[in-house]
């Protein structure tokens, strides 16, 4: 409960009218806009944009792994494949939805950028902990860095294509939008690794495959910050 004194002072200020904007200014703005008023096509619904993003990420991951080899998918048992799909598809849908909301002004995001990254990593860790029980760590660093690199490299085309899908949108918080978009692209990288990487050791999956999401999100934030700095100059 706010202090009664502060509440009263705020109410008093809210009740006091502020001067309206200059009428001549409003006329001028109206004249400028009237000269260019043409019909525009509103953005499609959030669900449609979200579905496009999920399909796009899935396409990038499947196409890249089909080209590189589906060794990971082949080495998984049927129950592992089912659990993997049951975990990754809803996660991608949720992250894609949050990503779309970041590109439409006035949308109500349900998760902040940090929550998107933490939630994605949490789901992936849980999923991998359930799926993989081999706790050996053979060539942990060497094979892990290679997988992280491959995952992030495959997240880049997904991020570029996602930016094309959302090109008509407008991010009022560009860094938050880029972090969420980076996390989604990172999920495309994770799907690629699950289809391609035959290393089913739990530490490898838990650390290096999961790390693709926060690394991609961080790269997204860095790109957005650099672009913002360039455009402000």
């Amino acid at each position: 409960v706010i202090d009664p004194g502060a509440e009263e002072a705020l109410s008093r200020m809210a009740a006091r009218p502020l001067p309206p904007p200059d009428a001549a200014l409003l006329e001028r703005i109206a004249r400028i806009l009237e000269a260019n008023v043409r019909p525009v096509r509103p953005l499609p619904g959030q669900w449609l944009l979200g579905a496009q993003l999920v399909l796009l990420c899935a396409t990038v991951a499947v196409a890249a792994s089909a080209w590189a080899g589906l060794d990971g998918w082949r080495s998984l048992a049927t129950w592992q494949r089912l659990i993997l799909l049951a975990g990754l598809v809803p996660l991608a849908v949720i992250v894609a939805r949050e990503c779309v909301k970041r590109w439409i002004p006035g949308s109500l995001p349900r998760l902040g950028p940090a929550a998107v990254i933490a939630g994605s990593c949490g789901v992936l860790v849980l999923l991998f902990a359930v799926l993989f029980r081999d706790y050996r760590a053979t060539h942990f660093i060497a094979s892990g860095v290679g997988c992280l690199e491959q995952g992030v490299l495959h997240a880049i085309p997904a991020a570029i294509l996602a930016a094309l899908v959302l090109r008509r949108g407008f991010a009022v918080r560009p860094i938050a939008a880029a972090v969420t978009g980076g996390a989604l692209a990172g999920l495309a990288g994770v799907v690629f690794l699950e289809l391609h990487c035959p290393n089913l050791e739990a530490p490898h999956q838990l650390i290096w495959h999961t790390a693709v999401v926060p690394v991609s999100a961080l790269l997204g934030a860095l790109v957005a910050a650099s672009l913002a700095r360039l455009t402000r100059r």
Binding site: M13, P21, P42, L43, P105, F170
Partner: protein, 192 residues
């Protein structure tokens, strides 16, 4: 003596179709290329956006510049408004972006330039009110101050503030709670 009452009754019976169109209706017409709707929307929404700018601007001229810049941006991205959604949080979100962008740009410029004494700044329209507001909200960080301004001064709901600031309702509640705690401490004279 009874005439005003009858007039009032007539006003109450006025069909809703004759009422002024809502900002949402005007926005949809604006998207369809209706010039009159664009003008009506500017007249309807501008005072609210101007109020937002005036609370933080250094001068009335700066608030007017920001308002004009906001309308140019709104015009350019008017397709991002989705029919059925509330217009005000959408417009506030764009205005807020313009304001933040402006302050970042101006702070960058002022960091590079020396102050110019001859560059007189026009006084703000109502210095007393804004000084009082500044004094009251001075202990709050910018993000908390913004939330309090929107909740208490602009009369927006938590969800509208969340939409306008592109953050979650939980985050808005948290900022408001922290701001209230600081204000309470200030009013009770407790150390910050």
């Amino acid at each position: 003596l009874q005439q005003p009452e009858r007039a009032g009754d007539r006003a109450e019976r006025t069909p809703p179709a004759r009422a002024a169109p809502s900002p949402e209706t005007l926005m949809i017409a604006y998207q369809r290329g209706d010039t009159a709707a664009a003008t009506a929307l500017i007249r309807r929404v501008s005072p609210l956006l101007y109020r937002l700018f005036l609370a933080d601007a250094a001068s009335r001229a700066q608030a007017e510049d920001l308002l004009q810049e906001t309308w140019l941006r709104i015009h350019r991205i008017r397709h991002t408004y989705r029919p059925g959604a509330p217009v005000m949080p959408w417009a506030y979100a764009i205005a807020r972006h313009i304001r933040i962008d402006h302050y970042r740009r101006s702070s960058r410029i002022s960091a590079r330039e020396q102050s110019l004494d001859y560059e007189a700044v026009a006084p703000v329209a109502e210095p007393a009110r804004l000084e009082e507001l500044d004094a009251l909200l001075a202990p709050l960080p910018a993000a908390q101050r913004e939330v309090i301004e929107m909740l208490k001064l602009a009369g927006m709901s938590l969800e509208e503030v969340a939409r306008a600031t592109s953050s979650t309702v939980g985050s808005v509640k948290q900022k408001a709670h922290r701001a209230y705690r600081r204000l309470r401490a200030r009013f009770k004279g407790a150390p910050q």
